[in-house]
Symmetry: C2
Subunit: 323 residues, 2 copies
């Protein structure tokens, strides 16, 4: 089951008043924008990059605005400043013939097929307290395969292989330009923007099997809902002071603030870039606050028919049915 | 430092007599071929797909043979039978104007930018015995980021961040078509072919840090030399009965046989496809035999100036300088 598309316009509207650039928070892109990937209803194969106009005013199809623009976010990011400037111009001009009404839009994950999905474990103070775990002295890094990514309003498929599928709302960010050995003070200039993720986790596979390597429990198909937009760095006041919540069937199960993050965006970028070259489109999930199902007494896990909603202030809302 | 290119022709020659298709071993491609990715010397950016003619007779540039063919192996695999048939025809016809002499070829990894690099840990009986570890009852799956992949004769860069970089020769295979929940008896029909990998590992990061999640220690840039060719399934007599060796500075440090594999190709494909959809180009590293540096007494690690050579009978040889 898909959620009604018109709910998207409500989401955009609630954040649209913050869409002017915030001085001092310049990432790859100096402009405040909500970039999306979408397909038109009935053209499910055709990925397009768009700019959300906010206020429910529809999405600008970037390739319709400028045919030299690419079809995917990853390619747009790889273009660097030229791509971002074009998106900004498209938003300013907003020619009617390039605007797709929300009723005709199916939003996809803002990034598809990244080279990496990098995840940070145990990265909220209050989440460590919840499980009586020490505060890590270094980030704990694991990964999902890109095949786990699904859209902001697509279904989470419960696999037959797990009985313990859990939710994890997370602030995600997307890399905007290539870099290695990035310094903390330069890190934000490598970040294109932020989005909302659900780091769906099969606890049996993560914690008890596979030699305690977390990968398999984290990477079933559909275990990484992402979106609804890539919100450029300039459009987020302070990424490390945002309300972050997860609701299951309308009940808040996680409710914290990104000010509880142990390793912040800049530190995570600097840390991981010691090991690997970061590339445009790389997705980072920064960790989850307390309230996950596995640490409840008794534990609670997702079941078919549940609806999981992940919310981060200023960034957006994703909502996924469990099937 | 690069190794002399003419050594490639020696490698091809030694296997060329086995290049007729082996009945009963049909993967994605029924033909026996050694497919490569290469760039011409002096055109370092230009990736091409080629078919090794063997006997030092050069490489057929597939796009020169048929302009409708793609530039990369992943795209060729995504084409399915059409791409493989074209490669086979190119090998049969071998028009002079499409043959690039080995002296002008720089071999790249046979696959670049796969969606996944899937690795199996603790998958050789004799390697488990070496470390007094029990034989696993299920495959242990971890991963590298695709950014770790480097060419068959490219350098392994020792990172400043590790003092314990180790070698691991491994039989690798490449997925040729999309699949989920693949049965063991069908698994080989999803495999395009085999290649040689070195699962270079920073033991300090793998075993002692990062919350014992192996990823970081396994995924430094250049920690996945791969090649020299994608040897189609039909060109390998029995992938589970091949001599497998690693030499450091000419001294054999690993010397075993793929008949020691606990979980064979078919089982690994079936296992992993329970969790994730497999896609053309996905690279699997199947695990390493005994003789790694960390379990020696005293432990031995790679240092600048070392040359690591990984050999698998019928599949090929890769050789990487440590810098």
């Amino acid at each position: 089951m898909r959620l009604p598309i018109h709910s998207l316009s409500l989401i955009s509207r609630s954040f649209s008043d913050r869409l002017s650039a915030i001085p001092g928070r310049r990432g790859v892109c100096g402009a405040a924008m909500r970039l999306v990937q979408f397909c038109r209803q009935g053209d499910e194969g055709g990925v397009r990059v768009g700019v959300d106009r906010g206020e429910g005013l529809g999405v600008i199809d970037l390739k319709a605005f400028d045919p030299s623009m690419p079809m995917t976010m990853r390619e747009l990011l790889e273009m660097g400043a030229k791509g971002m400037q074009c998106a900004q111009r498209a938003l300013e001009v907003s020619p009617t013939q390039c605007v797709v009404p929300f009723a005709e839009v199916r939003l996809l994950s803002p990034v598809l097929a990244p080279e990496k999905v990098v995840c940070v474990g145990m990265n909220y103070r209050d989440h460590c307290l919840e499980q009586n775990a020490p505060i890590p002295k270094e980030p704990i890094i694991f990964s999902k395969f890109p095949s786990a990514i699904t859209g902001p309003f697509d279904d989470i498929t419960l696999p037959d292989e797990s009985q313990e599928v859990d939710w994890e709302v997370e602030l995600a960010f997307v890399i905007g330009r290539k870099g290695k050995h990035i310094k903390e003070e330069d890190a934000m200039s490598y970040v294109a923007g932020f989005t909302v993720a659900n780091d769906v986790s099969a606890r049996d596979w993560q914690m008890k099997r596979n030699g305690k390597q977390w990968l398999l429990g984290k990477t079933f198909d559909s275990f990484c809902p992402l979106g609804p937009a890539l919100v450029t760095t300039s459009a987020v006041m302070d990424p490390h002071n945002l309300g972050i919540r997860c609701l299951v069937n309308g009940v808040a199960v996680q409710n914290s603030n990104t000010n509880q993050l142990i390793f912040k965006t800049e530190q995570v970028v600097a840390w991981v870039s010691q090991f690997v070259t970061l590339s445009p489109g790389d997705v980072f999930l920064t960790g989850t606050p307390p309230g996950v199902g596995v640490f409840r007494n008794p534990p609670v896990f997702l079941k078919k028919g549940d609806v999981v909603e992940c919310q981060i202030d200023q960034v957006g809302v994703i909502r996924n049915n469990v099937v």
